[in-house]
Structures are given as structure tokens and as C-alpha cells.
């Protein structure tokens, strides 16, 4: 199957896993090469993005990235840009070779997503908390035009501490935006440590329910469950859906998993080699841990 085709691409479980593994390798490789960036949250969000772009969800045309009839994806947690770039390159929006330029002064791949510069990027993000409002605006436009396309948005679990998220959550419910599906990359960590310790968001599902959303909880590394929740969301009428995806920050690279210090730090060449080895062997996917489980120490280093 040609992954660069227009429309929806629907891979089988094996190919989905293989694509996710490739995306993870791109993530660590491009961040390693750039010498800075955010591996932890890119790896935790990778499966969600792969499911959306390769699991028969996102209807897009790589040759016409601004095609008005496309589905839209807003990566509200913009620091996970390397994951989005890898997915977009794999999907054919630009050459995979471009990924090597990540964060270089002469590249179109900015440290955080730039919708003006990068084909396939539907929203400029990087300042946390803004993406859900943007997605609400897109979804309102879709409703106004009675358009068939849908809007997807990926949020961080630290990110939902931002008040603007709750303004947008309220508005999405008020305007009955059932063409909007959000994913909470619930990896239990932010920069300064465990979300629970820094500024607890729990009970997070109850919060979204009280704000009028349909809530589904899934394992955020289980493609099947992600796609199942996505299909369920498409059937819900009169309400937006929040998919609370329990994930592991740094997922796929053993020494990065569940460690806040890997939020925004590039691997050394040795670490990169080790990570690539692990990711090469992980094509079929490994067992997932819950997002709330453990956490390393506070991340001292800043790739910010």
C-alpha cells in the first residue's frame, strides 16, 4: 500500500506497529542529531499519531496539504513536534530526508510546529494550552459549513493545567462539537516531575465529564484501543469526546521510560545507538505500563 496516497490509509496491526517503530526511530534519531528536543513526550504520543494517520482515521492528501476537505490534527503539546514530523514524512507530506534538518536554522522543521512552514502541520503550537481553542475554532467552522471532516487534538497531561484548556473544554461542550475528538497523552509526567506532585489533575476523567465531554479511557499504546475509541467518538452525538490515553513517557526506549529528565534532553551518541537498537527490536510492540505508575526524578536539564 502506498503510504503517500490521498484519502485514508488503513494499515493492518503488523504494519501499524512497524510504522510506529519507524516513527520512534525517527524521533530519537532526529533529536539526537539536533542535539536538543523533547524525546519523552514525542515517544509517548507516537502511537496515537500513527493510529490517526495510518489507522484509517485521518483523511488527508499529502500532495495538497491545505486541501479544505481534509481532517485536521492539532498537536497542542507542540514540543512533541518530532513525532508529528516523523508521521507527516512517513505519510508523504515531505521527504523523510527533511527530518535530518530538525531544529536547524535552514530547515522548515522548527523546534515547535509551524503551520506556515511545514506541509501537513495544521496548527502552530508550542505555547501550551492554546491548541484546544484552535481545534474548537476549526470544529465550529466545520459545523457551520456542514462539512464532513473532523478535528483531532492531542493534549499533554501537564498541559491541561492551563486555564485556557478549560475555557475551550467548556466552549466545545456548549457548542456540541461532536466533530471534535481530543486525546490526553496521560503519561503522568511533566517537566518538574510527576503531574500528581507538581499540580495534580486527578480525577482527570471526572473533570472532563463535568465539563460536558464524553470520556473514554484507553491504553495509549494499544492501537486497537485507540482506534476503537476513535470510532466510538465518531458515533457520539452532541458532545465532544476526550480519549484519556494512558501512556508511558519515553515509551520504547528503556532508559527514557517514565523518567522526567528525558522530557527535553537529547541522547548522546552512545545513548542514541542504544535507543536505536532497542527500537529496532521493538517493531511488534512491547507491553505497556500505566501512565500514573512511576516517575523518575525532577528533570534538571532543559531542552526548552
Amino acid at each position: 500500500m502506498d503510504l503517500k496516497t490521498a484519502g485514508r490509509v488503513t494499515l493492518g496491526p503488523r504494519e501499524l506497529a512497524a510504522t510506529a517503530a519507524r516513527v520512534r526511530r525517527h524521533i530519537v534519531e532526529t533529536i539526537g542529531r539536533a542535539g536538543s528536543g523533547h524525546p519523552g513526550g514525542s515517544l509517548s504520543a507516537a502511537d496515537i499519531l500513527v493510529a490517526l494517520y495510518f489507522g484509517g482515521v485521518m483523511n488527508v492528501d499529502p500532495s495538497r496539504p491545505r486541501w479544505p476537505g481534509r481532517d485536521r490534527l492539532v498537536l497542542s503539546k507542540g514540543h512533541a513536534a518530532p513525532a508529528l514530523y516523523a508521521v507527516l514524512a512517513e505519510r508523504g507530506f515531505f521527504p523523510v530526508e527533511d527530518l535530518a534538518g530538525l531544529r536547524n536554522i535552514d530547515s522548515h522543521l522548527q523546534g515547535h510546529p509551524d503551520m506556515k512552514g511545514t506541509p501537513g502541520v495544521d496548527a502552530s503550537t508550542g505555547s501550551l494550552g492554546q491548541g484546544l481553542s484552535f481545534a474548537v475554532g476549526l470544529a465550529l467552522a466545520g459545523k457551520l459549513d456542514r462539512a464532513p471532516w473532523r478535528v483531532y487534538v492531542v493534549l499533554g497531561d501537564g498541559e491541561v493545567q492551563e486555564g485556557q484548556i478549560w475555557e475551550a473544554a467548556m466552549a466545545a461542550a456548549h457548542y456540541r462539537l461532536d466533530n471534535l475528538t481530543a486525546y490526553l497523552d496521560h503519561n503522568g509526567l511533566q517537566i518538574d516531575g510527576r503531574v500528581e506532585d507538581v499540580m495534580s489533575i486527578s480525577p482527570v476523567a471526572a473533570k472532563w465529564q463535568a465539563f460536558g465531554w464524553h470520556v473514554i479511557e484507553v491504553d495509549g499504546h494499544d492501537m486497537d484501543r485507540i482506534l476503537g475509541a476513535t470510532a466510538e467518538a465518531a458515533e457520539v452525538k452532541g458532545r465532544p469526546t476526550m480519549v484519556v490515553a494512558r501512556t508511558v513517557k519515553g515509551r520504547g526506549v528503556s532508559f527514557m521510560e517514565n523518567r522526567a529528565e528525558w522530557h527535553g534532553k537529547a541522547p548522546t551518541p552512545d545513548q542514541l545507538a542504544e535507543a536505536m537498537r532497542e527500537l529496532g527490536a521493538a517493531d511488534a510492540g512491547g507491553p505497556a505500563e500505566g501512565g500514573d505508575s512511576g516517575a523518575g526524578e525532577r528533570g534538571e536539564e532543559d531542552g526548552q
Partner: protein, 343 residues
């Protein structure tokens, strides 16, 4: 109510000589620019079906309620949530709409600067922020509601166009121009009625200043309700033998550098006047440019680095130094600097 007569109470205001382009017939009328905005919104709504309007629980005050009544499906109230107001507008723009987002000027840009920066200006999306209740002429609500820094905040944003119309006619034209401009626009509007100085069909081009009166000795450059104040000051100055030009600098960004350079060269001294802090606004834009191209004296009339307070618009404009007399005094200072020459 007239807030711009410096308390003279005299309805028949003389116009400076040499000023041909401003309708004298319209002098008596006073209309708030927010009112003109509300009416013009309905016009652009009819003309361009992509126009949508958003508000944050102030649609009666910002006059977007006029649009909401005619196009209820294209009007979205976001409630008291200004950050979301701007973010949603950005998303609408990204999907091909032409969103006008309104609230008070203290809240947009003040409450939403980062949203305006990233979701709108960095993304270069055609969101039109039309903020009302700018400046001291808000009156009794006091400091928290009197935006004196919004020009500074929007002017520093790349890709942003900043427009401060002088009257109702210019507002109408500016709303149409904003709708047709592809990028982000900030439109600064007032609560209080201000004299209508242009004919109803006045045309407006983004980035082009309007020389209302040619000067010889110095030039008064103003925006918003201070344009009329400067027209009055010019009359007073003429009585003292000083020929002051008057420029309506309604586009604050991009700056009309050719007009600015021309009047600076011709008259050699400038007074700027704005219902805004003397920091960061029109005066700042003018001095930044001239100091690096053609340094001449520029004396700024505006609010002197302090918060507003409660009072009537007229009381406040007087108390904070925004009357024709204040402009006249600033002109005297500019002329003194000019005649002293470089040291």
C-alpha cells in the same frame, strides 16, 4: 456627549484653514466608533459570507449584537473567556473564515497577548481583533477598564496590522479594509461618541496616513479621538501665527514612513497625540523611525505612565493632559527645541 471639546461647550467648532478634505457639514454629529463598527460588521457580513463574529459576553457594548441579530448562525459568544475567544477565532480563520473577535481593549490584547502572538500572529491568520472601550474615554469604570497600552502590545507583534480610526466614517471603511486584508488586524475602537470628521463614504487604505492639513512650522500627528483635538489645537495655534499641519495616523502599523518623513522634512518638528500611554504607542513609533532617519524634535502628548481612574470622559481627558491646550503647549515645546537646533 462630546468628549473632545476640551470643555468649551461651544458647538460651532472652527476648522483650521487649508483643510479641505474634512466635511464641515458633519461637524455637529458625534458617533462612537464602536457603534460604527457594529453597523459596518453587518455590511461586511452581507458582502462576505466568510465573515463570522465572536464576542466574550460584551456584545451589547461592543455592538457585535447588531451582527448577531442579523446573522445568528455566524455569531459565537465565547462567554467570559478571552483567551479562548482568540484561539477559536484563529481556528476559524485557519478553516477559511474571516473572524472578527470583539471584547474590550483591556482584555484583547491585554488578557490574550500570548494567544494573539502564537495562534494568530505567528501563524499569520486573518483574525480581526476589534476591541472597543479603548483609552480614558471609557470613563467611570476606571483603571481596570481603560486600555492605555494596547497599541504598544499589538504594534510589537510581527505580521500585525494596527488601526485606530479617528471617527465613525473611517471606522466603517477600516472594517471593510480589515475584512479584505489577508492577515491579522487590530482595530482600536472607543466607547464615547466622537465628532464625525469624514464624509460617510470616506475611503481608507491600510498603511496610508491622511494629511488633513498641510503645515509649515510643525506637524501634529494623531490617532483616534486625538485627531479632532489636534484639529482644534491647530486652530488655536494659527491664532498665534503658528501654522501646524495635522495628520491622521490611523494606521499605526505598518507605519506610513513616507508621509512621516515628508512632514518631518517639511516642518522640522512634530507633536504626537494619542489616547494611550506615552510609552510604546504612536509617539514611540514616530520617534523610533525619525531618530534613525531624520532626527527632529518630537513631543508626545498622551497619558503619562500612570493608570487611569474613574471620572467622566471629559474630566479624564482634561486631568490626564489630552486637551487641545495640552497639544498647544506640546507644540510650543517642539518649536522651542526646533529653534534651539542641535547642540
Amino acid at each position: 456627549m462630546s468628549t473632545t471639546r476640551g470643555g468649551s461647550g461651544d458647538g460651532s467648532r472652527p476648522r483650521p484653514e487649508g483643510m479641505t478634505r474634512v466635511q464641515t457639514a458633519a461637524q455637529a454629529e458625534a458617533v462612537a466608533t464602536r457603534e460604527a463598527y457594529g453597523r459596518a460588521l453587518v455590511e461586511v457580513g452581507r458582502r462576505r459570507p466568510e465573515v463570522v463574529v465572536l464576542d466574550a459576553d460584551l456584545s451589547g457594548s461592543t455592538k457585535t449584537a447588531l451582527f448577531a441579530r442579523e446573522f445568528p448562525d455566524r455569531f459565537f459568544n465565547m462567554g467570559i473567556a478571552e483567551a479562548n475567544l482568540i484561539g477559536v477565532a484563529a481556528g476559524l480563520a485557519a478553516a477559511g473564515k474571516i473572524p472578527f473577535a470583539s471584547t474590550f481593549a483591556v482584555f484583547a490584547p491585554g488578557r490574550v497577548y500570548d494567544q494573539l502572538r502564537v495562534s494568530v500572529a505567528y501563524a499569520d491568520l486573518g483574525v480581526k481583533v476589534a476591541a472597543t472601550h479603548a483609552g480614558l474615554s471609557v470613563g467611570e469604570d476606571g483603571a481596570t477598564h481603560q486600555a492605555l497600552e494596547d497599541i504598544a502590545l499589538t504594534r510589537v507583534l510581527p505580521n500585525m496590522t494596527v488601526i485606530v480610526p479617528a471617527d465613525a466614517s473611517e471606522t466603517r471603511a477600516a472594517v471593510h479594509a480589515a475584512a479584505d486584508h489577508p492577515g491579522p488586524v487590530y482595530l482600536r475602537l472607543g466607547r464615547a461618541p466622537v465628532p464625525v470628521i469624514y464624509p460617510e463614504d470616506h475611503s481608507f487604505t491600510i498603511g496610508r496616513w491622511d494629511v488633513l492639513k498641510e503645515g509649515r512650522d510643525l506637524t501634529l500627528i494623531a490617532c483616534g479621538l486625538m485627531v479632532d483635538v489636534c484639529l482644534q489645537a491647530a486652530v488655536a495655534l494659527a491664532g498665534e501665527g503658528v501654522l501646524a499641519g495635522v495628520v491622521n495616523a490611523s494606521t499605526l502599523k505598518p507605519l506610513d514612513t513616507s508621509t512621516l518623513l515628508e512632514v518631518a522634512r517639511r516642518t522640522g518638528a512634530i507633536v504626537t497625540a494619542e489616547e494611550h500611554s506615552v510609552i510604546g504607542g504612536l509617539g514611540s513609533a514616530v520617534t523610533e523611525f525619525l531618530a534613525g532617519e531624520h532626527p527632529v524634535p518630537v513631543v508626545r502628548v498622551g497619558v503619562g505612565d500612570r493608570f487611569g481612574r474613574s471620572g467622566t470622559p471629559a474630566e479624564l481627558l482634561a486631568a490626564y493632559g489630552l486637551t487641545p491646550d495640552d497639544v498647544r503647549r506640546a507644540a510650543a515645546k517642539a518649536l522651542a527645541l526646533k529653534s534651539r537646533g542641535p547642540s
